[in-house]
Point group: C2
Chain length 426, copies 2
């Protein structure tokens, strides 16, 4: 980890920049896949399963029997852990669905919003080295709470053409029955256009590799909504002298092991704190199975000593991290300094992995500086808020003249007339 | 208006399709403008003002004096109307900013969300034939309520290099001081990258022509967020026998006068109702100044008679209209049938123009079927909801084992270790 000592604000912009992750070179191959899926549907999906997942598939759908049998292959301890996470995530997300009050803006003019579930949603769960059943919970539970009537899940099969049991178990727990063995850009295309087997959806959620990300980017211009732009995962820790350097090191490493492109930043107002944390990293990293990945990620990471903790928070707000840990015994006094972040972990015992799995908050969060303008996934992401208004014959008398005057000033006499004709009827 | 009689559901998909409004041919010219603004900043903007707005500009910013003097040029009646709209929009939108409760998902594990304003936002207000001061209110008021610290407004100048007084007046009322004479794709590029005069923002809002829309589409892939995808404005009316055909005709015409590409759809379970409404359109259209635009829009519009009112709502949900009027004396009984719509107007006295201007709801709404997955603009659009969690030393004892088990099952031992090291400290 490179250490910077109190860099002047003029250097902050470049220090907060992420490495370029532009995959424009992928556009052609992703577009080819998209066109193929649009044209050839299931046949294309079975072909790509062979090509990219090395899997011979007879059918794309996972049968109900297979979904239900998965429970037998998941250990009792893991089932209990998943249940605890399920309960906490459900408890937190349930409070996000609210009935909004009816506002009478003027006598006879009532306005309100109603949250209505997005009917058809698609969840993409990456395959690869680890089965991300936690993401099934993080996307499936808010979809369930929102009341989405059709939830489709795509995830790539392994070489035997199978889906990991823990993913199937988590999906079944959430009530997802439509599970398909499709990965990559082809999965995003299938959920956008629909195929004989896979239903088209209105909004697609979930992380993925650069092919998946590029496909979501391209297809959101063709009518499907997506959760948010994606980028490599990030953690920024602000540590003061009341932190526990062992804990900080463990948290930084938990982020670094995600991938070689993971972003890890450590800020403090104490050089000693930084040195202690870095020494701890050197010790702890030796025991990590994913040591080489973590080492590579740390090589691009930064530790910065600032004169004041205030400067550290100013820097953090410019960086706008996906995950922000306040490693301090007095974390709550810093809350109001936080302007841009995806999810914040307060105090020495709030580790990022708690939020990744089981505390109750969502782990699908804005990366790459998008925390300046995007929220993480929540029940909000699975509903539209439709506005309603009900104006009575008396209400239009109260509001009508103002509308006529404004419509005329904008040169829209048809708009004006829609009011005039009602006022004249009285 | 073409009349369809009870089309079978197999034809609904094609009947709900919008005419193609793909402006891919614009990509090259918009990209040229974007690159020019990124490279040459203010100079490029002044050049394009000359080229596209026929305006010679000395400076891009509107001075405080000019902004404040605008009030003298707005009639007292229009000021009163704007004030009434301002009050209603503020009253309705103020209720959208809520303090969310802290949820203790398990003893010692607290989670909550905090709404924090997007610091820097950009509002685009189109120029052209009419000054859309109403859109200044619809975007500026929620930005003000959210607490955005920097609100930038771009709008094209007229040939004299001036901005309409009503736009300046509305902006000043909302407290917007940063107003720039820039239109088109160049305005979107300026607010994305920033220039010497114009600040860069994190999210851009507002309607516009195909150049503006294409620029928002392209630039959202380069780090700036946008409100939603844009398309021509739409109105769908479901009218039963208790409607007032004069009112329905006036509402359909108010939509048709927007532009030749406006979408107008009338559904009913009564052929008589449809005939009466169309006869009324023929009468009322004669008196409209924008008659030729409305005629052109109506040529592409559809009236459909269904066997049942239920079919009409099923069709409407597939169409997913931006504006939906329930023209019925008993509109409230239909509310639960509405699944996909931007804003809904209930009953014979709730005309669309009320929502366009002054009832309190927002008029920036999803078009082109996007109401299936997008909400209209609200205070939500101007904030991020940051999640927080605070886990105590006792809390990690309650939740720690579950995290360890799940992290290990996903093969992420660094994630596990961040918990283990805390549990072992106890």
């Amino acid at each position: 980890m490179k250490i910077y000592n109190n860099p002047p604000p003029s250097e902050w912009a470049s220090l907060t920049k992420r490495p370029l992750t532009n995959h424009d070179d992928l556009v052609d191959s992703v577009n080819t896949i998209i066109k193929d899926v649009k044209l050839n549907g299931d046949d294309a999906l079975i072909k790509y399963a062979k090509k990219y997942d090395d899997a011979e598939l007879d059918s794309l759908a996972v049968s109900t029997n297979v979904i239900e049998a998965a429970a037998d292959k998941v250990s009792r301890e893991l089932k209990q852990a998943i249940q605890l996470a399920y309960n906490n995530i459900t408890k937190f997300h349930s409070t996000q669905l609210v009935d909004e009050e009816i506002i009478e803006t003027m006598p006879g003019v009532k306005c309100w919003r109603k949250s209505v579930a997005i009917q058809k949603v698609g969840l993409y769960i990456p395959g690869g080295s680890a089965p991300l059943f936690s993401t099934v919970l993080m996307l499936g539970i808010p979809a369930l709470i929102a009341g989405c009537s059709e939830i489709v899940l795509c995830t790539p099969p392994n070489k035997k053409g199978l889906i990991d049991s823990s993913i199937l178990y988590a999906a079944n727990l959430v009530g997802i029955k439509k599970i398909y063995k499709v990965g990559g850009a082809q999965a995003i295309a299938a959920m956008t256009f629909g195929t004989t087997t896979i239903p088209a959806v209105y909004k697609i959620f979930g992380p993925g590799n650069q092919y998946v990300t590029k496909a979501k980017e391209i297809l959101q211009l063709q009518g499907v909504a997506i959760d948010m732009p994606a980028g490599p995962s990030e953690l920024l820790v602000v540590a003061d002298t009341s932190c526990n350097p062992k804990f900080v090191a463990a948290d930084l490493l938990s982020q670094a092991e995600h991938g070689v492109d993971s972003q890890v930043i450590l800020l403090s107002d104490s050089a000693e704190v930084i040195n202690s944390c870095l020494s701890e990293i050197d010790i702890q990293i030796q025991y990590l199975p994913r040591q080489s990945i973590a080492l590579e990620a740390l090589r691009q990471s930064k530790s910065i000593v600032f004169d004041t903790i205030n400067d550290a928070f100013n820097f953090s707000n410019i960086y706008a991290p996906e995950h922000l840990i306040i490693a301090s015994a007095n974390a709550s006094i810093y809350v109001d300094k936080i302007i841009n972040a995806g999810s914040v972990f307060l105090g020495n015992y709030s580790c990022e992995s708690a939020g990744d799995y089981a505390s109750g908050t969502n782990h699908t969060l804005p990366t790459n500086g998008n925390a300046k303008s995007y929220s993480g996934v929540s029940v909000d992401s699975f509903v539209k808020k439709i506005t309603f208004q009900e104006i009575t014959d008396k209400g239009i008398m109260n509001i009508g003249r103002a509308i006529e005057v404004m419509a005329e000033a904008e040169g829209l006499m048809g708009h004006k007339n829609a009011v005039t004709i009602r006022l004249n009827e009285k």
